[in-house]
């Protein structure tokens, strides 16, 4: 099976999300095989889930003070602080031989990551249960769900999907380091709530740094690709965006991911929206 590997780049939040959607559309139109993409963020960024109420959950004034980015994902889940992490996107579907269904597709990717992490001397396991009760917080990493990767009971990778039929885009954050306080201080919480919540997160989340494993991004990416190759006989062809995909990503960035209309209002249509000056978070 041939997959496409998009070379690692660091880019701004809106561009990162626009490229993933452009590649997903390209896949839907059968212009590309499945895609594995790795990327980084030009500055610490909060990404929020498709349905989240940004204004209610995120402290936008604090975000501005700290010069953090903000972008809404197409994928589900809750707020993630992208800072010391390796971010990946997988785009694929049943027509390329990927498993049918939501959970099997998660499992497929999780198994490859477990294989890769074992090469890096981290023994990760799959979490096999759903979060208990209603979602209580705005942050993604406080509740493992099916097939999340855990090490000694703590979450190491957060992930979420967007699906159209049997085609999916999966976003994932592999934590190289984790600072719970940095995340909680940009959520809309009182200082007491923020410190209590940070303590909870610190107990539930781990990272490569916590585990004493320090490696280069290059080695991690190579190891993950080799794991996909070993488990599923996938050959990767390295290629950048085509001109059509690039143009699509440009349009998506300008008309969607760099706009307050998408990042602040979507999912909160009736909120009393203050003006945040268009693209200040781009």
């Amino acid at each position: 099976m041939i997959w496409r590997l998009i070379p690692y780049r660091v880019a701004d939040p809106a561009w990162n999300m626009a490229v993933d959607e452009a590649l997903f559309r390209s896949y839907l139109e059968e212009n590309t095989p499945p895609v594995l993409r790795f990327y980084g963020w030009s500055k610490p960024t909060i990404s929020i889930g498709y349905f989240q109420d940004t204004v209610a959950e995120i402290n936008l004034a604090r975000l501005r003070e700290l010069d953090y980015g903000l972008v809404r994902r197409t994928t589900g889940g809750r707020a993630v602080l992208h800072d010391c992490e390796l971010t990946y996107a997988v785009i694929g579907g049943v027509r390329s031989g990927l498993p049918l269904g939501l959970m099997p597709s998660y499992l497929y990717i999780s198994h490859a990551l477990i294989e890769a992490f074992s090469e890096l001397e981290i023994i990760a396991k799959l979490h096999q249960g759903m979060p208990q009760g209603k979602i209580k917080s705005g942050a993604c990493f406080d509740a493992p769900s099916w097939y999340e990767l855990m090490v000694a009971g703590k979450k190491l990778v957060g992930s979420a999907q967007y699906r159209q039929g049997e085609n999916f885009l999966q976003h994932g954050s592999i934590l190289l380091d984790f600072d719970a306080a940095a995340l909680t201080k940009v959520l809309n919480l009182s200082s007491i709530e923020a410190s209590e919540y940070a303590a909870i997160l610190q107990r539930k989340v781990t990272s490569f740094a916590d585990l004493g494993v320090f490696t280069t991004l290059e080695r991690m990416i190579t190891t993950i690709c080799l794991a996909f190759q070993k488990l599923y006989q996938i050959e990767f062809e390295i290629s950048d965006l085509t001109s059509g995909e690039y143009q699509q990503a440009q349009e998506l960035m300008e008309l969607k991911y760099a706009t307050d209309n998408w990042n602040l209002i979507r999912g909160n249509k009736e909120s009393q929206l203050q003006s945040f000056g268009g693209r200040i978070f781009a």
């Binding site: 349905f51 589900g76 959970m103 979602i135 769900s145 099916w146 159209q164």
Partner: protein
């Protein structure tokens, strides 16, 4: 057990046909596949929908999923209870979890839908 009076699609939606209208929802198989539904983005009343294009968006614990329009038509009613109680989709997918009522553009499109026997075969429940 699949209700026998409904029509189905390969994208795991059900339709209850009432004259020139159809009540639309997702099947029990689909809700189990998605897991706990936490948000539903409904179409607007009066919105035109085109077959195989997005009609609604559902977020479960692990994914945001587009729900395709199973037929061409116009949305004439939506189940706005889902905005506050999205769990109805899990608890009662063929009842309180209905998503929208569509006024059909072309009744002949219904011939393309699956009956309960064919849909059961598709999801491996035909025994």
């Amino acid at each position: 057990m699949l209700p026998k009076d409904l029509k189905y699609t390969a994208e795991h939606e059900w339709l209850k046909i009432e004259g020139d209208r159809a009540i639309v929802g997702i099947t029990n198989y689909a809700q189990k596949e998605l897991g706990d539904v936490v948000f539903v983005d409904l179409p607007a009343v009066g919105q035109r929908i085109n077959i195989k294009e997005g009609m609604a968006t559902i977020e479960s614990v692990k994914a945001v999923s587009e729900i395709y329009a199973p037929v061409n038509g116009e949305i004439v009613e939506i189940n706005d209870n889902l905005e506050h109680s999205p769990e109805f989709i899990n608890q009662d997918p063929y009842g309180k979890g209905w998503i929208a009522i569509v006024e059909l553009t072309d009744q002949q499109e219904l011939d393309q839908l699956l009956n309960s026997t064919t849909y059961a075969e598709l999801i491996g429940e035909s025994k």
